[in-house]
Symmetry: C2
Subunit: 134 residues, 2 copies
Amino acid sequence: MQIGELGEQLGVNPKTIRYYESIGLLPEPARSSSGYRVYDETDAERLGFIKAAQRLGLALDEVREILALRDGGQAPCAYVRTVISREVADIDQRLEELHRLRGELVALEQRARSASGEGTICGLIEHVRQKSAP
Amino acid sequence: MQIGELGEQLGVNPKTIRYYESIGLLPEPARSSSGYRVYDETDAERLGFIKAAQRLGLALDEVREILALRDGGQAPCAYVRTVISREVADIDQRLEELHRLRGELVALEQRARSASGEGTICGLIEHVRQKSAP
DNA sequence: GTAGAGGTTCCAGCTAGCTGGAAGGCAACC
DNA sequence: GGTTGCCTTCCAGCTAGCTGGAACCTCTAC
């Protein structure tokens, strides 16, 4: 498939795909006779992985490192294990914090639910609306 | 406490704290007679919240919105509830993705653990080391 | 009273991660 | 064969989120 289709499929701008290639996140793809980039499902999976990791707050540098580990899957070693452990510990902390944040929000919502019946006017709206007004 | 101490406590650069104030994430603090910013535990808690939310991948704009909800806690209403629900749904998705990513990494580590005894040399090291070399 | 650490404002510049535009090539349809 | 649309490279510019530096003030210790 061409770059446009890949981008469409994953919701990623073709520009971004070329950019990822330029910084070594995606391998240089095959080219058609006319020079167009040609991608396959492996590329799509990889791009999906990048986007998922990114949504979780990983920097592209970290993603690159993880992908490198994944790519060279043949003979991992002690060093690799430490890299992975660090990453997992990091994720665990994020999980915990996300849980806490979620708890806070849910508690807020409880308060919202109990405080007002179906009222649609409150000071908060004004507050929040300021976002849209310059 | 002064800006330096607050920063120290939370691991945040004083510059960053002033920046947060300038974009409305932190309220304008009290000032000492000589014009120094003076903070209390409430500010520390708020800054901690901001940093936690940020580590989870929330943009400062979103953090601002959540803080606004929190601040105006007196009379939440229907609109507020929808904002919160959206945020919670978002978090749930992130939680799920984080779990998946964690699973992948742990699987990778299993492979590492079983493949090599205590070997410290492998192709991966070279690969990963390229990061440090220009 | 002077040195040094830490505070102030203001303004400029930086990194990460894209994104837009120019200038042109290729493919497919009418 | 011309138009439309997607592709190419290259280079510049953008937003978010800081961060560094200049120029100056203030507190504390010697």
